[in-house]
Amino acid sequence: MKRADLRKLGARIVHWSVLFVFTVLLAFPFYWMLIAAFKQNLDLYTVENNPFIFNARPTLDHLRLLFNETRFVRWLGNTALVGVIVVAITLLLAMPAAYALARLTGRWGQRLGIGIFLTYLVPPTLLFIPLSRVVAILGLQDTIWSVVLVYPSFTVPFSIWLLMAFFKSIPKELEDAAMVDGLTRFGAFVKLVIPISVSGILTVVIFTFTLVTQEFVYALTFISPESNQMVGVGIPIFLVRGDVYFWGSLMAACLIASLPVALVYNMFLDRFIAGFTVGAVK
């Protein structure tokens, strides 16, 4: 009996130490951003100081610099604007397509659906060179409209895939009943299917928005003026003057820009994962 108890205790210790070690390793950079964001420069740049604690009083100087003397707020605004427009485009394109694939086109729907999912696997690093010419020819270079045009190319395929699964879970009888009551198929889609799919649509909205804030390659390639940047490129590229890194402000900016996205994404994560796992989970 004693041996079994010891074993149980051992298992618990292993369990908790695995959790502890991984949590610390994975979350550490964010703790590091937090502490750097409030440290005085003298404290930050003295090699002898214990870097884990505040050796001098915390300061708001870095935040002040960030908000008053850089384009940080502008970048946040650009990103939010692009996010909203891309969400609108994505919904307009993906909702009808997903419904059509889920309901109307029968056996072909399955194949087309998988085809669309596969286009999600095409990475920006394969397409950014030709797209940079397309953007230049259309005269969109250096404006946020370049990314507004291109971002739906990776948000639409995955959104169709997510919504398709969602629409399929709605009982067909509901629509049939509505159609017997005189609605057309399209009418049933707009007045019945969309309202009861709000949570699925919300997932797509969040997903699209987070992808817009996470994108780096296209924004770096298409946009060069500092004031038109997206937040994901502006912070790592333009908060550096020459070779001088303003680490305090840089870390504050990273934290401010990533935490809200992380919080919201986290809430919807299980749905995205269900989309990722294709059909391997049943």
Binding site: N50, T105, L112, L118, I129, P130, S132, L269, G279, K282
Partner: protein, 304 residues
């Protein structure tokens, strides 16, 4: 299907092709124009002498491929892309299997813990990478501080993590792992929750110990979902340029250059669109293999 309602069924059959087509063609058109067409254009550029700023374009056959295959930078980039991807996936699979098993049981504070563990994946990758650049700084690195404090190195005697080829490569792999472990963990959690609880329990009752249950029952049953995590992880690592670009920009001396970062340096920064396009086309074989494997898995899941 609604067998008892022939009226609806005929209605559906009559209107479906037209309405269905009208509903999904805008999305398909968009995808064709912004993914299909640029892809064809990339192939076209790779066989031409396209440059930023030049308006004429000539067909040059395999010339671009010949010159990039001879360039040492390209060979290093190809090698790095493969090494980074394989190393990162190996580490990610081991770590996330452990972590997902540890997270399986419900306990108090699990939600908060999951959020902290997920942070690297849900935060924008360029911002996480810049955080690491500060952690790996040549002078103020916290890792250096700890090693000096533990007397492994004399003050100012520690290596520069991003300044020496092998350490820089290790750093890039480390950051990729840091970012992918959370993703792989949640994918595996989703998978392991689908395994019927009775099977491992029955094995335990029959006298199989923890390790035996783990290696002979749990992990084999989780294999399909581990495959999904590895396939996506491979794409995310192999085609990524953000981590490398921010941490090292391919340096020192091309030692961390990957195919995407070299394509960017050549095609955009170096204005040689043709060579850049040719380099990025080397991503395609890997993508095709992964797409094939995913299709096979999706197919098998349907049959079962």
């Amino acid at each position: 299907m609604a067998i008892g309602r022939p009226k609806i069924k005929s209605l559906q059959a009559a209107e479906s092709p037209l309405l269905g087509g009208a509903m999904f063609s805008p999305a398909v058109l968009y995808i064709v124009l912004l993914i299909g067409a640029p892809f064809v254009l990339a192939i076209f550029y790779a066989f031409s002498d396209a440059r930023i700023g030049s308006t004429t374009l000539h067909f040059v056959g395999l010339e671009n491929f010949r010159s990039i295959l001879q360039s040492p930078s390209f060979r290093k980039a190809l090698q790095n892309s493969i090494v980074f991807t394989i190393c990162a996936q190996a580490i990610v699979v081991v770590c996330s299997t452990m972590l997902s098993i540890a997270l399986e049981k419900k306990f108090r504070g699990r939600g908060l813990l999951r959020f902290l563990i997920l942070l690297p994946w849900v935060a924008p990758v360029s911002l996480g990478s810049i955080g690491w650049k500060w952690i790996l700084d040549s002078i103020y690195s916290v890792i250096t501080w700890v090693l000096v404090w533990l007397h492994f190195y004399k003050p100012y005697g520690a290596p520069m993590w991003l300044g020496q080829p092998h350490l820089a490569m290790a750093s890039v792999i480390l950051v990729h792992c840091w970012r992918l472990i959370p993703f792989a963990t949640v994918v595996m959690l989703a998978g392991s929750s689908a395994i019927p609880k009775e099977i491992p329990e029955a094995a335990a009752i029959d006298g199989a110990g923890f390790w035996r249950t783990l290696f002979q029952i749990k992990i084999p049953m989780m294999l399909p979902i581990i495959n999904v995590a590895v396939l996506f992880g491979t794409i995310f690592t192999f085609t990524d340029m953000t981590v490398v670009y921010i941490l090292t920009a391919g340096g020192p001396f091309d030692s961390t250059q990957t195919l995407p970062s070299l394509a960017f340096a050549t095609g955009i920064q170096g204005s040689d669109l043709a060579a850049g396009a040719a380099i990025s086309l080397f991503l395609v074989p890997v993508l095709v293999v992964i797409a094939y494997l995913m299709l096979r898995m999706a197919h098998r899941a349907e049959v079962v």
